[in-house]
């Protein structure tokens, strides 16, 4: 894995203070600081960010496409988690 191009890192950018970090892409780098700088040089050339995370790609644990049923579709019938499931008398606001 640690070939002469460095390891693969995933890059997450916060576009404005207060916003969540979003996945932007990946870079190669040999160490933490280089990963951070490479991510900055690659993904923030046009004022895209205010903060950066870099994570070794190998550290990311991802669910599999087969998991889509048991992981995610099981919440489809839990309609009572959504506010529109409940009725309130007409004219009631701020709720």
């Amino acid at each position: 894995m640690n070939d002469s191009q460095g390891i693969l890192w995933e890059v997450f950018i916060q576009s404005k203070p207060g916003q969540p970090h979003k996945h932007a892409g990946s870079v190669h780098a040999h160490d933490n600081e280089m990963a951070l700088q490479n991510a900055r040089d690659l993904y923030c050339r046009r004022s895209e960010g205010t903060n950066l995370w870099v994570v070794p790609a190998s550290a990311i644990v991802a669910s599999s496409p087969e998991d889509i049923g048991p992981f995610f579709e099981t919440s489809n019938d839990k309609v009572y988690r959504h506010p529109t499931f409940y009725s309130v008398p007409e004219g009631i606001t701020h709720m």
């Binding site: 460095g6 190669h28 700088q37 490479n38 040089d41 690659l42």
Partner: protein, 252 residues
């Protein structure tokens, strides 16, 4: 020398350093050791050339001779360039590039920090913007000095070699002539002596972390600030100015 002429010359010295170093780095575009580093060096080159550009625009205004930034860049010959010898040294290998970068970036960081307080509002404003960039450049170069110094026997040897050969250009960074000292007295120019100890202590700190020793017994060269350059600059300018000079007076 009247004040405007001194100021014009002073701005040229700052701008020429940025331009020539940026130009040298831009020669490396597409030749980096790996893609990410290629992009990083181009970014730094762009910062340097951009800073030079702002300074030339200001210098042209100060000179008041109806010239543009391009006239200053493309129509001066080598004896009129005021950059230090360090920045015109060629891209011998990546160790030279990073060593040259590290020495200049360290100087530039403390220099821009001081220049922010200049009584000349325009220079102070340009310095404030440039400082953000030099802070990043210094971090980038310092990291590489440590990586190369600590890395392999070969990288350590190459870096040592680069320091030994570039060290002779360090003292020139702090030379100031009478006209410049006059600007220092007026609070316009940076007092080079005031940043010298910070410069050497930062260099020493990083070199120590990198397992390198400061070269000793090196004879110091100078002349760039007076327009007496190494032979390298002539070729750099011949290339840089070739198209512009071949078609006088046209728009690009």
């Amino acid at each position: 020398m009247n004040n405007q002429t001194s100021l014009f010359q002073y701005i040229l010295k700052i701008a020429d350093n940025q331009l020539i170093l940026g130009h040298r780095l831009s020669e490396q575009c597409s030749k980096g050791p790996f893609l990410e580093e290629d992009i990083a060096c181009s970014n730094i080159a762009l910062d340097l050339i951009g800073a030079a550009n702002s300074l030339y625009i200001y210098a042209a205004a100060i000179e008041g001779a109806n010239k543009t930034e391009d006239d200053l860049v493309y129509l001066r010959s080598e004896r009129a360039f005021r950059n230090v010898l360090l920045v015109e040294q060629p891209n011998t290998d990546f160790a030279y590039i990073m060593c040259r970068q590290f020495l200049f970036d360290t100087y530039d960081y403390f220099f821009q920090q001081a220049l922010q307080n200049s009584n000349d509002q325009t220079l102070a404003a340009i310095a404030a913007k440039t400082l953000k960039e030099s802070t990043y450049h210094l971090r980038h170069a310092g990291n590489w000095i440590i990586r190369l110094g600590d890395g392999t026997t070969e990288s350590n040897m190459r870096l040592k070699n680069a320091f030994n050969n570039l060290w002779c250009y360090v003292e020139e960074l702090f030379e100031q002539d009478a006209a410049e000292l006059d600007l220092v007295a007026q609070g316009i120019a940076v007092d080079a002596q005031s940043i010298k100890s910070q410069f050497y202590s930062h260099i020493a700190e990083i070199m120590q972390t990198a397992g390198l020793e400061i070269p000793s017994g090196i004879f110091m060269q100078s002349g760039g600030k007076k327009g007496v350059h190494t032979e390298h600059l002539g070729f750099l300018l011949a290339e840089m100015q070739s198209v512009h000079r071949s078609f006088p007076g046209v728009k690009w």
